[in-house]
C-alpha cells in the first residue's frame, strides 16, 4: 500500500523561467524509508515542501493517505505529516524544549495531561528529556534538530519528512541525527521521506530517488544506485566513504568480487587478505 502518490507533478516559481520540478512521478509505500537525493538547486526541497503540504502542486497530482492534496484537504493532510526543516533556529517555536513540543499538540487540541505524557515520551525517544526546560540558545544545532523531530512526531503523523534536516549541522550533529532517523525507521513510527544531498544517508534507506534539474535521474534500491557509478558522478554526488575506498582499492589492484561491502566486511576482507599474502 502506498502512502504517498505523486503523478506527473510540475512546479514553477513565480518570476522564474525554468520549472523547479518537471513531470515527477513517484510512490512511497507505507512504513518505508525513502531518500530523495540531489545537489543544492536540484528541486529536491521544492518536492519535499509539496509532499509536505507546505505548497500546493501546480500541475499533476499528489495524494497522501488517499487524500488528494488541494486547498480543501490542506489542513487534513497537514495533520498526517510531520516535517523537520533545515534551519534549527527558525523552526524552534517554543521558548523552551517542552514548549516547542507542546506547540503542535496545542494546535491539535490535546489536553494538558495528555500533552505532558506525550512530551515526556518523545523527548525520551530523541534523548532530550533532560533538557526539557532549556531555552533554544543554550542548545547545539544537533540538539535543536532532535527537539524538532520530537515536535514533529508528537502528534503522531503517518508521514515524517526531513527536508535537508542535517545540512546545517556539523559532522557530529549530522551523524547523531542520521542514527536517530535509522532508529525511527526500526521502530516503524512513521513512513519516512528524507531529502538530502548526503548520499551516505541513502545507504540505510529502502529506496532512493536521484533528482537533478527538477527531474528524476535515477531510482532504485541503495544497492542498485551505488552500483551505477555513472549516475552518481553525473549528478555531482559523492560515494559514502567505504564504497569510495573500495573503488580506489580496486583501481590500485585489489581484487573485489563484491563491491558493496559494509565497513566491517571490508575490514574483515583486508585482514584476511593480509593474513594470506
Amino acid at each position: 500500500m502506498s502512502l504517498v502518490k505523486v503523478t506527473n507533478l510540475s512546479f514553477t516559481y513565480p518570476n522564474q523561467s525554468h520549472p523547479a520540478l518537471k513531470n515527477i512521478s513517484l510512490t512511497v509505500p507505507k512504513n518505508s524509508y525513502v531518500t530523495i537525493i540531489g545537489e543544492n538547486g536540484s528541486g529536491k526541497s521544492t518536492l519535499a515542501r509539496i509532499i509536505g503540504a507546505i505548497s500546493l502542486p501546480q500541475n499533476g497530482q499528489v495524494s497522501i493517505d488517499n487524500l488528494l492534496l488541494d486547498k480543501a484537504h490542506l489542513n487534513a493532510i497537514r495533520a498526517k505529516i510531520g516535517m523537520v526543516f533545515q534551519n534549527p533556529d527558525s523552526q524552534f517555536v517554543g521558548s523552551t524544549v517542552e514548549d516547542d513540543v507542546a506547540f503542535g499538540l496545542e494546535n491539535h487540541c490535546f489536553s494538558p495531561e495528555e500533552m505532558n505524557e506525550i512530551i515526556t515520551k518523545y523527548l525520551k525517544l530523541v534523548g532530550m528529556n533532560d533538557y526539557r526546560f532549556r531555552t533554544p540558545e543554550s542548545l547545539s544545532g544537533g540538539q535543536k534538530q532532535r527537539v524538532a523531530i520530537a515536535s514533529a512526531l508528537a502528534y503522531r503523523p503517518k508521514l515524517l519528512i526531513f527536508d535537508e534536516a542535517t545540512s546545517m549541522l556539523d559532522p557530529q550533529g549530522r551523524q547523531e541525527i542520521s542514527k536517530l532517523i535509522q532508529n525511527l525507521k526500526l521502530r516503524q513510527l512513521a513512513t519516512i521521506i528524507s531529502v538530502t544531498h548526503n548520499l551516505s544517508e541513502a545507504l540505510v534507506s529502502d529506496y532512493v530517488y536521484i533528482l537533478n534539474h527538477g527531474e528524476i535521474q535515477g531510482r532504485g534500491t541503495p544497492t542498485e544506485i551505488f552500483a551505477n557509478q555513472e549516475l552518481i558522478t553525473k549528478n555531482h554526488l559523492k560515494l559514502p566513504f567505504t564504497l569510495e575506498l573500495i573503488q580506489q582499492l580496486k583501481k590500485a589492484g585489489f581484487p573485489f568480487e563484491n563491491e558493496q561491502l559494509s565497513t566491517t566486511e571490508l575490514v574483515q576482507y583486508l585482514w584476511t587478505l593480509n593474513s594470506t599474502t
Binding site: 495533520a79 527558525s90 521558548s95 506547540f103 491539535h108 487540541c109 490535546f110 494538558p112
Partner: protein
C-alpha cells in the same frame, strides 16, 4: 551576555516562582498604583522593605539582584538630580541662574528616587520569577474579555511569546553581522555623524533580510505543525489559582490599609 536584569528570567523554585502568573501581573500593577499613596519616610520605607522581603522569598541573591540593577539606579539618580535643580519650595540653600537647590526640592527628589527604586524592584521581581512564555499566556488570559469585542487575543499572546523567544536569536544574528561588516572596514565610530548614520545600513539591510527569511521559515514550521490562525487550540500551561495567590492579594490589601493609615494626611 549582558548583566542587565530587566526582562531576564531566572528559573527557580520559590513561593514567588510558583504563584499564578496572572495574579503576579495584576499584583504588580496594583502595587505600582498604591506606591503613589506613599508620601512620607515611613510609608516609603514600608514599601521598600516589602520589596526586599519579596526578593528574599524568591531566593534570589541580593548581591546578584543589585549588580543587575546598578545601571538603572544610575539612571534613577540622573532623574533625581534634574528634579533637585528644577523643583522648588521651602528654604533655598543655593542658587545660580535658574538652578536652585531647595529644601522641598531635595525632599521631593529623595522620595522620587525611592519610588523609582521600589517600582524597579517589583517589576524586576516579576520578570525574574516568571517565564516569558507564562507572561505572554497570562496577558492573553487577562485580555480575554476583549475577545468578545473581536480582538484576536490568542494571536496577540502568540505574537508576544514568539517575539520574546526570538530576541536572543536576533541579537546573535545582529552581532554576527556587525562583526562581519567591521571586518570589511565599516567604521561605527566614524568622526562624521552622517557617516555613522549611513553605517547603520550595512547592519540593518542584512538583518532585516535574514529576519524575513526566518519569519518565512517559522511560519512554514508553524503551519506544518497544524497551526491555523483563530482556530481553537488548547494550552499546555494551565494556570491554577491556589490559596497562596489569594493570600498574596490579602497581603497587598493589608499593605494598602497600612499605607492609608501611615501616610501624611
Amino acid at each position: 551576555m549582558s548583566k542587565v536584569l530587566i526582562g531576564r528570567y531566572l528559573p527557580g523554585d520559590s513561593v514567588i516562582h510558583r504563584l499564578d502568573p496572572r495574579g503576579k501581573i495584576v499584583f504588580t500593577i496594583l502595587f505600582i498604583v498604591i506606591v503613589f499613596w506613599a508620601n512620607n519616610l515611613i510609608t516609603y520605607g514600608l514599601l521598600l522593605f516589602f520589596t526586599f522581603w519579596l526578593i528574599h522569598l524568591s531566593k534570589i541573591s541580593l548581591n546578584y539582584f543589585f549588580a543587575g540593577m546598578k545601571s538603572f539606579v544610575y539612571l534613577a539618580l540622573f532623574v533625581v538630580v534634574i528634579q533637585i535643580f528644577f523643583s522648588g519650595g521651602g528654604i533655598t540653600y543655593w542658587h545660580w541662574g535658574i538652578f536652585r537647590v531647595t529644601q522641598m526640592g531635595l525632599i521631593n527628589a529623595f522620595y522620587m528616587f525611592l519610588r523609582l527604586l521600589i517600582n524597579l524592584n517589583i517589576s524586576t521581581i516579576l520578570t525574574l520569577t516568571t517565564s516569558p512564555l507564562l507572561i505572554a499566556d497570562s496577558i492573553e488570559s487577562l485580555l480575554k474579555p476583549l475577545s468578545y469585542f473581536g480582538v484576536p487575543v490568542q494571536i496577540i499572546g502568540l505574537i508576544i511569546s514568539i517575539a520574546l523567544r526570538f530576541i536572543p536569536t536576533i541579537a546573535d544574528a545582529a552581532q554576527k553581522i556587525v562583526n562581519a561588516q567591521m571586518s570589511r572596514g565599516v567604521d561605527f565610530n566614524a568622526p562624521s555623524l552622517k557617516k555613522r548614520i549611513m553605517n547603520i545600513i550595512p547592519i540593518l539591510v542584512p538583518l532585516l533580510e535574514s529576519n524575513f527569511k526566518m519569519a518565512d521559515e517559522l511560519s512554514e514550521a508553524m503551519e506544518s505543525r497544524g497551526y491555523i490562525p483563530l482556530a481553537k487550540r488548547t494550552h499546555f500551561h494551565v494556570m491554577h489559582w491556589h490559596w497562596q495567590d489569594s493570600t498574596a492579594f490579602g497581603i497587598l490589601g493589608l499593605l494598602a490599609v497600612l499605607l492609608i493609615i501611615l501616610r501624611q494626611s
